[in-house]
């Protein structure tokens, strides 16, 4: 698994490197990029799909929905599912940036890119 090393389970102690403060700038940057990613992957369009069989429907749905709606069955449910959690996450970004101040406010998010994108050619 990428970036994961198994050094063992349990035994969390206090102090040490794990006790260091998390870099505020890194955290703000992480959130900004994640919100930007979700904005780029979101689309609410279902159009442009054709195909007369279940199987071509699978291909068409993958090809037409674009990024962020990868569906194992090719039905578009992922968009539905992702929508719920996109909403919850963006609520969080608002809370962090707007009121608590941990994420740097409005300037830290940036504008979303165009919908669709780099998964539109993904194989089923």
């Amino acid at each position: 698994m990428k970036g994961v090393c198994d050094e063992g389970e349990g035994g969390i102690a206090t102090g040490g490197r794990g006790g260091e403060e998390i870099d505020e700038r890194a955290l703000a940057s992480t959130v900004a990029r994640a919100v930007d990613y979700l904005g780029r992957t979101q689309t609410t369009e279902r159009g442009g799909v054709s195909g007369g069989t279940v199987f071509s429907g699978r291909l068409a749905s993958r090809a037409s929905f674009g990024a962020g709606q990868e569906t194992g069955a090719g039905s578009g449910d992922e968009l539905f599912l992702g929508g719920v959690h996109t909403s919850r996450a963006l609520r969080g970004a608002r809370g962090g940036g707007g009121k608590v101040g941990g994420f740097g406010g409005d300037g830290g998010v940036g504008e979303a890119g165009p919908a669709g994108g780099d998964r539109s050619d993904a194989a089923v």
Partner: protein, 356 residues
């Protein structure tokens, strides 16, 4: 921030399109798929029969079909369900608070109460639970088909309790029974064989998260025993990297860790492991795209044994974002408390109380 708000509102608008108003359903009932059109032409019917023969079932003879499938046999269509109805109405409740948009339909809670495991509906899952438990069934069957089995799912019941809690409707029939089901599933250890208590979700700590969310955000205090035990379970399963960051790994460590962080915060745990896990999530983000690893969101099986997985990268990103902001809110609350400052309304949703 403006783009984030636009994205959230677009998501809410999309969810509304899955409302099922066709009789016997109505406002506030939602399904996993939109209204479907059964196969009509000769070749469509032939293709449908071949498909049914291949997957066999489950044959629910519902009214909803997958998006973008021109041909879908009526036998395999599904009904609206408790899970979608719960999570969409919860999202609408939250959006009403945040955005001031229209909330859920009045009385959406009645749909859950109508389809409960009351002994009159055939139900064989989970086998460990006696018939007539009173908890919430997954499928809102508009018409029961002989041989079409309904089921109980622990995640579905946690989501229903969350929605009921948010709407202040915990007196809804079945809420106590659903909480009892969840507590038993945890305290009697059924959830450790996760496939025995969930037909639709993967064993990826999302169950931990949903139960704790119902407790902390929905105010469902009756699941406190389960939440406390799940938090302890997480602390026993954590792993530590050389750099001191912490994570959980059930196959999708980014998603697993986000769920674990949220669960611990919801359970009122402020162990240092949470900060270590936040550091793990920050370090693991894809620097180029801003995402994390794809996870398996849903699983389903046909009667022929074909398993279908719905996976998502965006889902992981959503959960990680939620974990990060919740951690920041909890940390800020701690700092204000330490400084003797006044707490704000946001502190109330930052994290739950320890059920212990």
């Amino acid at each position: 921030m403006a783009s984030a708000r636009r994205a959230r509102l677009a998501a809410i608008d999309l969810m509304r399109r899955f409302e099922v108003r066709e009789e016997p359903f109505g406002a506030g009932a939602f399904g996993y798929w939109p209204k479907g059109e059964p196969a009509s032409g000769l070749w469509q019917r032939v293709a449908g029969k071949v498909f049914v023969k291949r997957v066999r079932g489950p044959r629910r003879n519902g009214i909803l079909a997958p998006l973008n499938m021109k041909v879908f046999p009526r036998e395999l269509m599904v009904w609206p369900d408790a899970d979608c109805t719960a999570v969409v109405n919860a999202a609408l409740l939250e959006s009403r608070c945040i955005d001031g948009v229209a909330g859920p339909a009045e009385g959406f809670e009645r749909w859950f109460a109508r389809w409960r495991d009351n002994g009159s509906t055939e139900r064989v899952f989970p086998a460990s639970l006696e018939q007539g438990s009173g908890a919430y069934l997954t499928w809102f069957e508009g018409r029961h088909e002989p041989g079409a089995l309904n089921d109980l799912d622990v995640v579905v019941n946690a989501n229903v309790l969350f929605a009921l809690g948010l709407s202040g409707a915990l007196e809804n029939p079945g809420a106590d029974e659903a909480a009892r089901f969840l507590n038993r599933a945890v305290l009697e250890g059924w959830y450790r064989e996760f496939r025995s208590v969930s037909k639709y979700y993967d064993d990826n700590l999302f169950f931990h998260y949903t139960v704790s969310r119902a407790y902390a955000e929905g105010g469902v205090r009756s699941v406190g025993p389960a939440v406390g035990a799940l938090a302890e379970d997480l602390l026993e399963r954590v792993r530590v990297r050389e750099d001191g960051s912490a994570y959980w790994d059930l196959g999708h460590p980014h998603f697993n860790t986000a769920c674990a962080v949220l669960t611990l915060l919801n359970a009122g745990r402020r162990d240092e492991v949470v900060a270590r896990a936040v550091r793990y999530l920050v370090r693991e983000q894809c620097g180029r795209r801003g995402c994390w690893e794809r996870m398996t969101a849903f699983v389903t099986s046909s009667d022929a044994g074909v398993r279908v997985y719905w996976s998502s990268e965006a889902f992981t990103a959503g959960m990680v974002l939620e974990a990060l902001y919740r951690w920041v809110m909890v940390r800020e609350r701690g700092r204000r408390e330490a400084a003797g400052g006044r707490l704000t309304e946001l502190d109330g949703v930052a994290g739950g109380d320890d059920p212990a």
